[in-house]
Amino acid sequence: MSTAIKETQKMIEEVLEAYPEKTKKDRTKHLAANDPTGQCSTCQVKSNVKSRPGVMTVRGCAFAGAKGVVWGPVKDQITISHGPIGCGQYSWWARRNYYNGQTGIDTFGTMHITTDFQEKDIVYGGDKDLYEALHELKELFPLARGIGILSECPVGLIGDDIEAVSKKTSKELGIPIVPVRCEGFRGVSQSLGHHIANDTIRDYILGKGQLEKSTPYDVALIGDYNIGGDAWSSRKMLEELGLRVIAQWTGDASINEMGIANKAKLNLVHCYRSMNYICRHMEETYGIPWVEFNFFGPTKIYQSLRKIASYFDDAIKENAEKMIEKYKPMMDAVIEQYRPRLEGKKVMLYVGGLRPRHTIGAYEDLGMEVVASGYEFGHNDDYKRTYPDIKEGTVIMDDATLYELEEFTRRLRPDMVGSGIKEKYSYHKIGVPFRQMHSWDYSGLQSV
C-alpha cells in the first residue's frame, strides 16, 4: 500500500470516529483512498445501498429521479405529480431544463400539475379522481402529446392501480398515458427512479414515433437534460461533426423523438448513470451500439469527438480533426487566461450521477487537482469508471453525509468545492469557493 493511500486511510478512520459503532462500520465501506488500478477489493467503495437513518444524507428519492431528472424535462407531455402536494411543489422546475415551445399550450415543462391528494384519497384511493383528472387535462390542454403519471409515496402504499387507469384512459383519449411507479420509498436514492423511468419509456414510448427517412449518420443524444441549454450546445457540435441528431433525451425532448430513438445508428450517452438502462435495451433489442462521451473541458471534448467519429466513415473522422483544429485556439485562449490563476488549486467534488468523474478533466485542463470525489447515488460501475481518472490516495466518498463533507473539507483544505444547492451555503459560510454543479450551463464548446 502506498504512502498516499495509507495517509488518506488514516484520515478517513479519524473522521469515522464520531459515529456510533454500527454506523461507523457501515460508513467505513463507503469511504476509501483511491487506488487507480481499481484492483484492490478493500479500496473499492460500496455503493447503491441504503443510507443510514439520521445522518443527513444528501440523497433524494426515486420520485426525484423519475420526475425531476428523466420525465420532467420531456416538453410536450404533461407530467402529473400523483399524490399529495409536496413532491410536485419542491420539484417544480428545480433544474433549468430549457426547451422551445409555448408553455401551457403545446409544451408543459415548467408546469406543476398534481392530483393534490387529500385524506379521503388515502382512505378511498385516488384512482377515480385520477381518471377524471386525465380527462380534465385533455380538455384544458388539447395539444399535449402524452401524459405521465408519476406516483408519490402514498400511491404505492395504498395500492392504487394506476396502470389500469392509464390503460383505459389512454385508449379513450388517444394519447400515451404512462404510469411511472416511482414512489419515494422505493430503492435507496434517485437512481432507482431513473431506472423505473427508463423502463416506462421503453414500454410506452420507444418505437412508436414517426421518422420519415433514415440516414447513416443518425444518432440519439441520450442522458443530457439541457440544463442551461447544454444539450443544445452538444447538439451543435454533433451536427458540425456531420451527424444527424434524431432524438434528444430528455432535455427539450418531445414524445416523438423518444419514440424514434430506436432508429438511431448510434446512441451517445452523456449521463451514463441515468440512461444506461435504455441504451442497453436498445442494444439488445435493436442492435444499436452505444458509446459514452464527455463534453466537459477541451481535452475530454477532443477525445470524445474522436471517439464518436470512430464509429463513422472517414468524412466524419476528418470533420472531428477539423473541429479540433478550429476550436483549439479558442480553448487554448481560455486556458491561457485562467490557468495561471488556478494552477495547483485543489478541488473537492460531491455530486450526483456523472459529474464527479466527467468534470475532472476540465479541472485538470486548468491545472487544478481533484483531491476528493464522490457520488450521491453512483453504482459500482460509476466508481470503476472513476478510479483510473483520479490520483492515488484521493478520497472517494459514496453517499457522504453533511458531517463527512465538513470534516474532509477541514482536513483537505480544498480551494474549491463543487456540489449541490444543499451544500452550497454552508461552504459560503466557511469561505470556500463553491460551484453549484446541479444546475448551471457547463458542457460543450460554447460553455467552457
Binding site: 409536496g86 408553455t103 392530483t115 409515496c153 434517485q190 444547492i421 451555503y425 459560510k429
Partner: protein, 501 residues
C-alpha cells in the same frame, strides 16, 4: 474574450437554425393551431372550463405540512428537525429553504424504504435518533412525519419512548413530535402542528410564577427582517418578550468563516418558560390555529392575533401591546409611524386606482390586502390555494370595509392556472405573489411585485421587514417603484419620459 450568457447565446442564428432543424423530429403542431389554442386559453369559454375542473391542481401556491414543521422546529435553540419517513422529502425541504434564503439548512431523515413500508419505521427511528444525537449534538430533536410514516401509521410516542428506554438517546433529551402528513392542509398547518407539539412537550409541568413577559408567535413567516424588526420594536417599547420560534439567525446568519449547525433560535430556557407569560400574541391566524387554541385552553393566557402589516394593522398591534403590557407607545415609534404615513402620502397618487391581483398564503394576503387598500389600490383577484371558508369570509369582510375592496373577489382552493384565466379575462395592472407567479408575468405581461414565499429568483427580499411602520415603508417602496418602473418602460419610445417624479 466574451462569455455569452444563455439568453444571448441561444438567440443567435446558428442556434435558431438548429432549433428549426430539430422540429423535423419533434412532430410539432402547426403554428396556426398552436396560436389558435393559445388565444382560446385567454377566453371566457376557457375560463369556465378551467374553473369547472375538480380533480387536478395546476401551479398551486402551497407546499406540504412537514416543510412548515421543519421550518418551525429550526427556530428553537440547538434544535435539529428530525423527519420520520422517506428521505427524499427532507432533501426537498432542505433545497427549498436553501433556495429561498440562500442559507444552509440542516434537517435529518430516517431514510425509510420498502422494508419500513412492510415492517414499520421503528428501526429507522431508533437508529436515526442515535446517529443524529451522537453526530450532531442537538439540544432538542423535533420529530415530524412524512406521508409514508403517516400512511403506515408509525406510533411516534411509543417509538421515542423505546428510544429512551433502550438508551439510544438520553432520558432527558427533549424530543417533541407532530404528525404532519402532506395530504392534510399545507405548510402552514405543519407549522401549527409542530409549534403545538414543541410547546406542549417542553412546557409540560413548567407552570409557575408569571414571568411578566409576552410571547410572540410569528407564524409561517419567511421574512427574517420581520423577526429582527419585531425584536427591535418591542425592545424600544421596553416589553420583555419571547419569540417562538425565532428563525431569524437560522436563515440569516453572519458570515464568520465558520459553519454553525445551530446559529441561533429561541433560547431553550425562554421557550420552556413561555407557559408563564402574561399573553401569547400570534402575528398570523391561519398558521397558528391549533397552537393558539391550545395556549388559551391549557395555559390560560390571552391569545390575540395581531398582524402588523399596513398602517392600520400596525396601529392596532401597538395599541394592543400597550394595553396588555401597560407600557406606553414611545415617541420613537410614533415618529416611525409619521414617516411611514409621509411615505404613503408621497406615493399614494401613483398607486391610487391601480388594479391588483394577489396570490399567497392566507395570513400574508390579509395583511397585503389591508395595505394595498390603504394605498388606494383596487383589489381585483385574490387567490389562495391553501385558504379555507373562514379565510374567505374574513377576506370579504376586510374588502367590504373600503371602496377599494368593492370589486375584489376571493378564490380559495384555486391555483395559478385559475388566476391565469382571471388575468386574461379581467386584466389587472399589477400582480403580487411569489417567484412562481412569474409564469403569470410571462404569459400576461403583468408586472410582478414579489411578496411571499418562496422567492427564489430575487436575492435578499426576505431580509427586509414587511411588518411594523418600517415594513410599511418597504412595501410602499416595492409597490410604488414597480409602478414607476412600469411607467418608464412604457415611455421608452414616447415623449413622456421623465427624470423627476
Amino acid at each position: 474574450m466574451k462569455i455569452r450568457d444563455h439568453n444571448e447565446l441561444f438567440q443567435e442564428q446558428e442556434y435558431c437554425e438548429q432549433f428549426e432543424r430539430k422540429k423535423e423530429f419533434e412532430n410539432p403542431w402547426p403554428a396556426e393551431k398552436v396560436k389558435d389554442v393559445a388565444e382560446w386559453t385567454k377566453t371566457e369559454e376557457y375560463k369556465e372550463k378551467n374553473f369547472t375542473r375538480k380533480h387536478i391542481k395546476i401551479n398551486p401556491a402551497k407546499a406540504c405540512q412537514p416543510l412548515g414543521a421543519v421550518f418551525c422546529a429550526s427556530g428553537f435553540e440547538g434544535t435539529m428537525p428530525f423527519v420520520q419517513g422517506a428521505q427524499g422529502c427532507v432533501a426537498y425541504f432542505r433545497s427549498h429553504l436553501n433556495r429561498h434564503f440562500k442559507e444552509p439548512f440542516a434537517a435529518i431523515s430516517t431514510s425509510m424504504t420498502e422494508d419500513a413500508a412492510v415492517f414499520g419505521g421503528l428501526n429507522n427511528m431508533l437508529e436515526g435518533l442515535e446517529n443524529a444525537y451522537t453526530l450532531y449534538h442537538p439540544k432538542m430533536l423535533a420529530v415530524s412525519t412524512t406521508c409514508m410514516a403517516e400512511v403506515i401509521g408509525d406510533d411516534l410516542n411509543a417509538f421515542i419512548k423505546q428510544a429512551r428506554d433502550k438508551g439510544v438517546i438520553p432520558q432527558d433529551l427533549p424530543v417533541p413530535f407532530a404528525h404532519t402528513p402532506s395530504f392534510v392542509g399545507s405548510h402552514i398547518t405543519g407549522y401549527d402542528n409542530m409549534m403545538k407539539g414543541i410547546l406542549s412537550s417542553i412546557t409540560a409541568g413548567r407552570k409557575g410564577e408569571p414571568n411578566g413577559k409576552i410571547n410572540i408567535i410569528p407564524g409561517f413567516d419567511t421574512y427574517t427582517g420581520n423577526y429582527r424588526e419585531l425584536k427591535r420594536l418591542l425592545t424600544i417599547m421596553g416589553v420583555e418578550h419571547t419569540i417562538l420560534a425565532d428563525v431569524s439567525d437560522i436563515f440569516d446568519s453572519p458570515n464568520t468563516g465558520e459553519y454553525k449547525l445551530y446559529p441561533g433560535g429561541t433560547p431553550f430556557a425562554d421557550a420552556v418558560d413561555s407557559i408563564n407569560a402574561m399573553a401569547t400574541i400570534a402575528l398570523q391566524k391561519y398558521s397558528t390555529v391549533k397552537t393558539m387554541d391550545y395556549i388559551q385552553k391549557e395555559w390560560g393566557q390571552k391569545t390575540p392575533v395581531l398582524s402588523p402589516i399596513g398602517i392600520r394593522n400596525t396601529d392596532k398591534f401597538f395599541d394592543e401591546i400597550s394595553k396588555i403590557t401597560g407600557k406606553p407607545i414611545p415617541q420613537e415609534i410614533e415618529d416611525e409611524r409619521g414617516r411611514a404615513v409621509d411615505a404613503m402620502i408621497d406615493s399614494h397618487p401613483y398607486v391610487h386606482g391601480k388594479r391588483f391581483a394577489l396570490i399567497g398564503d392566507p395570513d400574508l394576503l390579509l395583511g397585503v390586502i389591508s395595505f394595498i387598500m390603504e394605498m388606494g389600490g383596487e383589489l381585483v383577484h385574490i387567490v389562495c390555494t391553501n385558504g379555507d371558508k373562514a379565510f374567505e369570509q374574513e377576506a370579504y369582510n376586510l374588502l367590504s370595509g373600503s371602496p377599494f375592496g368593492a370589486k375584489g373577489k376571493v378564490y380559495v382552493g384555486k391555483d395559478m392556472w385559475h388566476l391565469r384565466s382571471l388575468m386574461f379575462t379581467e386584466p389587472v395592472d399589477f400582480l403580487i405573489g411569489n417567484s412562481y407567479a412569474k409564469f403569470l408575468w410571462r404569459d400576461t405581461e403583468t408586472p410582478l411585485i414579489r411578496i411571499g414565499f418562496p422567492l427564489f429568483d430575487r436575492h435578499h427580499l426576505h431580509r427586509y421587514p414587511i411588518i411594523g411602520y418600517q415594513g410599511v415603508i418597504n412595501l410602499v417602496n416595492w409597490v410604488v417603484n414597480t409602478v414607476l418602473d412600469e411607467m418608464d418602460r412604457k415611455t421608452i419610445n414616447t415623449t413622456s419620459f421623465d427624470v423627476i417624479r
